[in-house]
């Protein structure tokens, strides 16, 4: 276990090595927040309330969604970190160096990813505080809701990691996984409620989507945060997240065992 903790620490330190570019990232993030703000302002121009959601709640949802994405390693729809990383490691053959460690490969990657997560959380704090002042996003109603949100967010992270891990394994079969990666990003962006909350979807679509793991990534924690999903309903949604984590974990182990045999590396 100690080894994995150390990997996590090193991964965190590695992120710290490039803190210089953070400032530029901050500017970019707030520009995207502003765009999202203007977008929803235009849509809410003629009403104060859509589907029972106030403009204020909507902005909170949207900006929290963007902050969340930064935390769980999905930056907008542009970058799913692990899949991208793995694809380039497999293509160049560098992956050999990672597989050559006497560790569990998935846990090795998870520790790596978790180190980044910690870094992201720290970076997100000032972003969050600034967003409260600039865009007037609000805090959850009670500490209980905040705790529930935190649990749900952790589950989102695990789900994202597992999906990302499985997508990244595609590169063991095809060398490139950009196609699958792009497709997954699009699916997550559209069906998870990261941009457009699921309550804007038709009833049937919302019902179907709420059973998919994608909705568990964004829709569940964010709905808990703004108070759209309350206590018991929230616990129910979190248990669905946990079920999905179990299913995807089993699936990813199986896929890993199969993928290992598929690796082809040439040269060096």
């Amino acid at each position: 276990m100690r080894a994995y903790l150390e990997i996590c620490k090193k991964s965190f330190q590695e992120r710290m090595a490039y803190r210089g570019e953070l400032l530029i990232r901050f500017v970019g993030i707030f520009m995207s927040f502003y765009l999202l703000y203007m977008f929803w302002k235009a849509l809410y121009a003629n009403s104060t309330d859509v589907q029972g959601i106030s403009f204020h709640s909507m902005i909170t949802y949207t900006i929290m969604s963007a902050i969340m994405g930064g935390i769980i390693n999905i930056f907008g729809i542009l970058n799913v970190y692990l899949a991208y990383w793995m694809s380039s490691r497999v293509r160049t053959g560098e992956i050999v160096m990672d597989m050559m460690k006497p560790t569990d490969f998935q846990l090795y990657l998870f520790s790596h990813s978790f180190g980044r997560l910690l870094f992201n959380v720290i970076v997100s704090v000032p972003i969050f505080i600034l967003a409260i002042f600039i865009f007037k996003i609000y805090l959850p109603d009670s500490l209980g809701v905040l705790a529930l949100f935190a649990v749900s967010l952790s589950m989102s992270y695990l789900l994202t990691f597992l999906i990302d891990f499985m997508v990244s394994l595609v590169s063991f079969w095809t060398t490139q996984n950009q196609g699958v990666g792009g497709f997954t990003r699009l699916i997550i962006a559209l069906l998870s409620g990261s941009f457009i909350p699921l309550w804007f979807f038709p009833d049937w679509a919302r019902n179907v989507l709420s059973y998919f793991p994608f909705a568990s990534i964004y829709h569940v924690p964010l709905s808990i945060y703004i108070g759209k999903i309350k206590s018991i309903e929230g616990l129910y949604a979190i248990s669905l997240q946990i079920i999905w984590i179990g299913v995807l974990f089993a699936g990813s182990r199986l896929l890993w065992l199969k993928s290992r045999r598929k690796l082809m590396t040439h040269g060096g």
Binding site: K10, Q13, A17, M97, M99, M100, T103, T265, G267, G268
Partner: protein, 332 residues
């Protein structure tokens, strides 16, 4: 004691047949023609504890593929591999615990962090006891001077420093077997010599078995007593360096400088004669003629000013062996 046993090892890759050019690349999308490549084609050998083996062969001969199978990363298509009694793909973690690997063209060090951080991490991954870890760091500082750059981020190291770091990293956990895949690639003579001395030292002190893949045959001459030559996935030679010299290195060259340029040079027993002004180079087979025979014959006919004898280098021998290997294949 045999630490590595390989019997009848095969590794076949299947790849799409790719056509050339722009139109070809579009055609490739719609066809499903496979080519199978026999990267390792029926290899068998055994390696004893404490040996240093030179594993050589031209690019794409199957050297790295063999090593990757020995580490358990690649699955053999068929055949038996045992490393210290373990099957690498089945006992992946246990096997990896007692081997060290350096791929000269890659690094296992964390690019953005100081070298020491990578060492610290490896200490935990391999569960190296504190004392052994500290002794090793001290040893590597003494023999490889890693203390000079141990606090520098890896991305700022020179190639020679990085390679020394990588070799040290692979030996932190006192592995029984060390796989070195082109550890001296692109290094200057001083660093090369450093690394050779170090490998020798480790081999003697710890009885570490070393498998060395390289294109630099001076590495092999300096370190190995046994050499295996692989080409097109097959072992075409396995034996001592002395033996290979005896068998293939019988060609010598006599370089002569004359007082005045001879109009014509005729030497009985020469394989090849090149004459340029007052200088001539004459190739001959040492099995059939001695150098003194040749010299007395030439000196009798022409006025000689100076002469030297050059033996064929190991490079030349290996080149001949590669070519002979290809010859075998085109016949069979």
């Amino acid at each position: 004691m045999q630490v590595i046993k390989i019997e009848d090892l095969y590794k076949t890759f299947k790849t799409y047949k790719r056509k050339k050019g722009f139109v070809g690349s579009i055609q490739t999308l719609f066809t499903k023609e496979y080519i199978t490549v026999n990267a390792v084609d029926g290899v068998s050998f055994g390696i004893n504890e404490g040996e240093i083996i030179g594993y050589v062969g031209p690019n794409g001969a199957g050297k790295s593929t063999t090593i990757k199978m020995l580490t358990g990363i690649l699955y053999p298509t068929s055949g038996v591999i045992e490393v210290c009694g373990l099957i690498p793909t089945k006992d992946r973690k246990r096997n990896l615990m007692h081997i060290g690997v350096v791929f000269g063209q890659r690094t296992q060090l964390w690019w953005d962090l100081p070298l020491i951080e990578s060492f610290e991490l490896l200490r935990h991954i391999y569960r190296v006891p504190e004392k052994i870890y500290r002794d090793n760091i001290a040893l590597f500082a003494e023999l490889l001077d890693i203390d000079e750059f141990i606090n520098t981020p890896v991305r700022l190291l020179s190639l020679g420093q990085r390679m020394r770091g990588d070799i040290a990293a692979s030996l932190l956990h006192n592995p029984d077997i060390l796989y070195l895949d082109e550890p001296t690639i692109g290094l200057d003579v001083v660093v090369k010599e450093r690394i050779r001395q170090f490998i020798k030292e480790i081999n003697i002190e710890r009885k570490t078995t070393v498998i060395l893949t390289t294109h630099d045959l001076s590495d092999i001459e300096a370190l190995c007593n046994r050499i295996m030559i692989i080409d097109h996935g097959k072992v075409i030679y396995d034996g001592s360096i002395d033996e290979i010299r005896r068998r293939f290195g019988t060609e010598s060259t006599l370089l002569i400088e004359f007082k005045e340029p001879p109009d014509q040079l005729e030497v009985d027993g020469a394989l090849e004669i090149q004459l340029e002004g007052i200088r001539a180079s004459i190739k001959f087979d040492r099995k059939r003629f001695t150098a003194s025979d040749l010299i007395s014959e030439i000196a009798g006919k022409y006025p000689v000013l100076d002469l030297t004898i050059e033996d064929i280098s190991l490079d030349g021998i290996i080149r001949d062996v590669y070519e002979e290997g290809k010859l075998h294949e085109s016949v069979s």
